[in-house]
Symmetry: C2
Subunit: 200 residues, 2 copies
Amino acid sequence: MSKKPRFDRQQVIEKATNLYWGKGYHATSMRHLQDAIDMRPGSIYAEFGSKDGVFKAAIEYYVQVSLDQLEQLRAQSDSPLNTLQRFVRLVVIESRQNAPSSMCLLAKTVAELTEEQGELFEQAKAALKRVEDAFAKLMTEAQQHNEISKQKDPQQLARLLQIQITGLRVYAKTCDDIEILEAMIEDVFAHSQSGLNGVQ
Amino acid sequence: MSKKPRFDRQQVIEKATNLYWGKGYHATSMRHLQDAIDMRPGSIYAEFGSKDGVFKAAIEYYVQVSLDQLEQLRAQSDSPLNTLQRFVRLVVIESRQNAPSSMCLLAKTVAELTEEQGELFEQAKAALKRVEDAFAKLMTEAQQHNEISKQKDPQQLARLLQIQITGLRVYAKTCDDIEILEAMIEDVFAHSQSGLNGVQ
DNA sequence: ACTTTAATTGAACGATCGTTCAATATATAT
DNA sequence: ATATATATTGAACGATCGTTCAATTAAAGT
């Protein structure tokens, strides 16, 4: 004896995520959200509680998609290292065409927010950490496959990869020349390779 | 037969820069600016024209300070490569203590803004390019000092350095553990070294 | 001392912000 | 069909946004 919501929660969150991803936290207003997800204020507040509530759902959705993508790439290749390489290509190159921003939503959020939005900031940090942990897991697997030196700390290698990706994706926002961008990825990975492989 | 302004333009711009640097473009309101620089709306608009005008002045001031710092470090050492290393330490480590944000204001701005704020976005991009060019100049000098391989493209090396710094400074915002951060810089530079030195 | 000119003030503007809520609509249970 | 419960609507709230401008203040020229 009730009434079910008419909106598709998953689709709504996806649209909200894309909007926040493109415009950033502060530049995205409730009015923008209302238009993007085609819901009126009352419904949004009933479902998410606040503008920040929608943002939290967006962050959670984004990190889940990212981890799923990584897992999917892993299933397509025997090589953990190659999986990471293809992930980098995916987020730095292909993301430029389809995604709302060349940047990672999580890194963008960490860059934009301060302690004033403490809860959201911490959530974005934690989400980045989850991605880093997924990287570290693949690094460990790469060690078991003898793709990288076993003397390296997988977590440290994961951190290094995060830094490379973040730097690349910010740079991608300033760089229209796709050739330069390709060369940057190649260079960054050449460096990572020498770092990853240790003394050889 | 006139009246000179009572405020110190340089000091005002410095305070405005620090505010924008810490809070970002969208989160900084005119009210915040009024309080930070101790000027009333009329005076601000007479001097800078708009909120964006203040931001433009901030960007210009920031890039000028950065280039000055680089030049100053260069004067303290014979080694161009060592100059770059000390610059990285300066902006990644020491900046954490004093600066309004661990991040570079220019990178932060490029990360936050979109085509909606086209003029400011382009200015921040151009400012980043000026820093990159300064890096490239030092890379060329480093080649002349036989500190790095002459086969490398200085501009490409400069781009690579920018990416490393950007990645590091974003990561610095998520990382409270200073030891991890130190290790990251060491690692990043170890990679850069191998890249910079070419075949040895 | 008086005039001139520009710098400064602060109230106020319309627009938009995030949010609330009484009114309405509608799916489900009886 | 009717009652019940809840999803949805959209006007409206007070706060704050960037900005304007008539009034005031004060330094410089005569």
